[in-house]
Amino acid sequence: MGRQSSERVVIVGGGIQGCAAAYFLARAGWSVTVLEKDNIGRHASGANAGGVRRLGRDLREVPLSLAAMDIWKDLPAYIGEEAAAAFHPSFYMKVAIDDKGHGLGLDRIRMLENAGYQHEIWLSKRELKKRLPQLEGPLLGGVLVEGDGWAVPWRIVRGFAKAALDHGAEILEGCQVVQFSRHSSGVWKIETATGSLESDWVVNCAGAWAARLARKAGDLDFPLSAHAPMLAITERRAPVLPAVLGVLGHTLSLKQLDTGQFLIGGGVRATADLETDKAGLKIPEMATSIRLACQLLPGISVAGILRCWSGIEGYMPDDLPVIGMGGLPGLVHGFGFSAHGFQLGPGVGEVLADLVIARQTKVSLKPFCPSRFG
């Protein structure tokens, strides 16, 4: 596609969503500028647990998650071999350790079957034992997705950023958008900390800060809240866990990285401050997840935890992202991923680009409609 002067788009936010959108737009020949107030991948997109999972997605999110997975499976074609090597597909498993979890798992499988999805399957107690004999404790079965896995988040974000650059996009780091508005001519004027620029389209991928950004333009008032989910990483241990592990009805996500380090998370959140960009850390609140990890893999209790951290993420009241046209022409939103937007990233990048280029997308965005909260 030849480039025309009217095909200018500014993307605010250099997280996974912004960088993936930049890639797809630049690939389509658009003139793309990404404005990132800190560094690419500095916030949620670089700090997350790297879980690449379709497992357990809200039914309304499944089509987008599956579309994203098609890109993950073919990642080298998009971001090159080197960056794509940061994705480690294996399998993702949520085990049931009590009756409640067992019930949740079976209900889930039934619900997905009714909706015509087959990517999640139920493993009986025996099959589970065979698949992961190293696990201990009362195990009543589990939900499994083959091909899910984990990635080094930062490398994936960088991968999309670099691929976007290779297609001619411009990425400005340390460049905060302080104000932007649409002129009568139909052009957006964007004021940044280091200068101003014009664009025909603005894509709001500002993560937890996105509602503030929307307000600056006088768009809808989004009920977006900011929290900081937490993670802990251990020192290196001999490899014992090939899968990413969760527990039905409990908060735990456990994986062993290629370095041998265990990464423990579980959705427990600390406070986030959007003024100072500081993310809190409440280590004791992670103890429940950590105890669960010890119960499943007693061997890890002697591993030293080297670091804990958290990242600032934006949450919507229904835990579904906002993806779609804003209330003002030429403004598109993609934010509010409520702690599960990393896997979606490549898919979101594609639909955001399709929205801008063609006003239509292959996956329905209805559940993510920006105006769903009025």
């Binding site: 280590i283 209790s301 080297l306 670091r307 804990c308």
Partner: protein
């Protein structure tokens, strides 16, 4: 989480700063908890002072100065201060909850005020071969002396600074043979140092003592100064020390033990992970917390005293601890009792010789950044200077981006060993001064806590251990 025990003041570290502060606060009616990771009170300078005072015959070689610490430690024991030893503090939260591990379990306690008196660490000295078995720091060698009167015969001491001469002096008095002393400082202090000589003379006694240690070391060992280009080598362990002497001649010594030292720098991990503001100190080539004259940090309920607030030595540690405690006592609505007279003046006098000493023993950058690209910089991850150069060439803005490229600073020690070196390397590449680069973003736990310890945290729920 709920807490079984609360205190007016928690002090972390029972060196001279922590002990002096604890005594004043206790006397003035505050409830005080002291947390310290050693088996007993004393800190670095008076390590093991309790047991060693009772065994002065064996440990007399440590010198009078050392045994002076017995006074503070004895008073602390007799006071109402609750002391928990072998407690490794790994986090201070925003609401002043202090987390620590002790004997395989973790616990937490809260207080209105926190005084960090966690002292200093030795400045890492990344020279070729510094990770070889047989090589350790002078401070570690001194710790062995203080713990068990053990040492290595025929070791070579390499480096400089007050603690360097003191330890060699103690080594000799303990009866260990010292094969050679390679002083990296020149005989005549750098001209700039003399700007500071006048205030330093206010503490002529201290200077004289340092001079005496050095004179004794010069007399009783094979000593040379102005040594450069030190390189340690050997097959699986230290065997040979090569260096360039004052006259530019290449020399070699065979030795199985070498002790390195380039001065001390504040322990920063706890305070940085707690979110206190820190500033690069160009005079001492280290990070130090931003403090007011009372030691109050950028978080109003957290104070810092002693070497953790900037290197100044044991006597300043005492007065700074007292100043901080006095302020905390007043903020708590009480009146300090038994506050030493002319405290501020004494504090100032104690600090007087410091700029002179800083200038005199300022390490040149070749002791901070190895020239040879094969030298290991990040010990935990086994990364060499060359590997860090390569990552730096990819255009990283600071240490935090570097971590993603090459894992420098991501190991057990949390950049204690490589942080400042990495920063100097990045400064070189970017052409910016070190003070303009951020430091590693440090996160709790600042010391490794096991998964099992954390798992038990929920169960213990605030029980002191």
């Amino acid at each position: 989480m709920s807490n079984a025990r609360d205190y007016d003041l928690i002090i972390i570290g029972s060196g001279p700063a922590g002990m002096a502060a604890a005594l004043l606060a206790d006397r003035s009616g505050l409830s005080v908890l002291m947390l310290d990771d050693q088996p007993g009170a004393g800190g670095q300078v008076y390590r093991q002072i309790g047991p060693n005072s009772r065994n002065a015959k064996t440990f007399g070689f440590l010198g009078e100065e050392y045994f002076r610490g017995g006074d503070l430690a004895g008073k602390l024991e007799a006071s109402g201060v609750d002391c928990i030893h072998q407690a490794h503090v790994w986090q201070i939260t925003e609401d002043n909850e202090v987390f620590y591990s002790r004997k395989g379990a973790a616990a937490s306690i809260r207080a209105d005020f926190i005084l960090m008196a966690s002292g200093a660490q030795e400045r890492p000295m990344p020279i070729p071969g510094w990770t070889l078995p047989g090589v350790m720091t002078v401070g570690a060698a001194q710790t062995l002396l203080k713990m068990s009167a053990t040492g290595a015969d025929g070791a070579v001491f390499i480096g400089t600074g007050p603690l360097f001469y003191l330890t060699i002096w103690q080594y000799l008095r303990a009866g260990f043979g010292v094969k050679a002393v390679l002083d990296t400082a020149t005989a005549i202090p750098p001209a700039g140092a003399f700007r500071w000589i006048l205030p330093a003379l206010l503490q002529a006694g201290i200077l004289a003592k340092g001079w005496a240690w050095r004179a004794e070391v010069r007399k009783r060992t094979s000593y040379q100064n102005g040594v450069r280009g030190v390189s340690l080598s050997g097959d699986g362990k230290l065997e040979k020390i090569s260096f360039i002497d004052r006259l530019g001649k290449e020399r070699e010594i065979k030795a199985g033990h070498a002790f390195l030292h380039q001065g001390v720098i504040p322990n920063v991990n706890l305070g940085m992970a707690a979110g206190l503001d820190y500033r690069w100190d160009e005079g001492q080539l280290c990070w130090r917390p931003v403090l007011d004259q009372h030691g109050q940090s950028s978080r109003k309920t957290v104070f810092v005293a002693g070497d953790g607030g900037g290197i100044a030595g044991a006597s300043v540690a005492v007065t700074s601890g007292q100043l901080a405690a006095a302020r905390i006592i007043r903020l708590g609505g009480k009146t300090p009792r038994g506050l030493p007279a002319f405290l501020r003046l004494r504090h100032w006098l104690n600090k007087a010789p410091r700029p002179f000493l800083d200038a005199m023993f300022r390490p040149p950058t070749d002791w901070i950044v190895p020239e040879d690209e094969k030298v290991i910089v990040c010990r935990c991850e086994g990364l060499t200077r060359g590997e860090i150069d390569q990552a730096a060439k990819m255009g990283v803005a600071g240490p935090n981006q570097l971590k993603s490229y090459c894992r420098a600073g991501m190991g057990r020690c949390q950049a204690r060993m490589c942080g400042i070196t990495v920063q100097h390397i990045l400064a070189e590449h970017s052409g910016r001064p070190v003070r303009d680069l951020d430091y590693f973003r440090l996160r709790p736990p600042i010391r490794p806590v096991t998964v099992g310890e954390l798992a038990m945290l929920a169960e213990n729920d605030g029980q002191a251990i």
